[in-house]
Subunit: 106 residues, 2 copies
């Protein structure tokens, strides 16, 4: 069965912290949507497991974060690819929606 | 190493057919960007192999296509999840950019 998820309708923004929404979870991949209000951030972190993830900016802008304070501008259509074991994070400059895909799923 | 790909800068539109751009290919996943001009379409197709794919609308609108002429509206932030072996396709109503993630990679 084809499954459609309207991420912009399903998830909101919150003042306290970024808001997570599980889009899909299967044996093959996990897909999450994070909404950040301007100034919110997913701090740099990593997991010591096999696999890769992508972070796709759907709306808004900010920065992809890496180890040792590194940062790259992140805007609509920008995709970050990272090993799951590599330090990565996100900081929002404007309200920002991103989609994270993890394969194989955590 | 973190890798950033600016999909909106890297890929263009073409009059003859939709334009494909390989964003990432690894042991874990394959990520492709397709740009469609209004009216262009990726016809319904499937591959008889294990795995799933997602189609994320980055910009523009159209329809996700399924078997027997089924169609679902597809706009920014909409995600289609499909088994690779399930018939799926896309049709663009306006100029449309989508990101396709396949895991495990074809």
């Amino acid at each position: 069965m084809l499954k459609k998820v309207a991420v912009f309708k399903e998830n909101q923004f919150e003042d306290q912290s970024f808001k997570t929404f599980l889009v899909h979870d299967s044996a093959y991949m996990k897909v999450l949507n994070f909404n950040f209000k301007a100034g919110q951030e997913l701090p740099v972190h990593s997991h010591d497991i096999e696999g890769q993830l992508t972070i796709v900016v759907l709306e808004g802008s900010g920065q992809f974060l890496g180890e040792a304070g590194t940062a790259m501008d992140a805007g609509p259509g920008d995709v970050l690819i990272s090993d799951i074991c590599e330090p990565h994070g996100i900081r929002a400059q404007s309200d920002m929606r991103v989609l994270v895909t993890i394969a194989p799923p955590i």
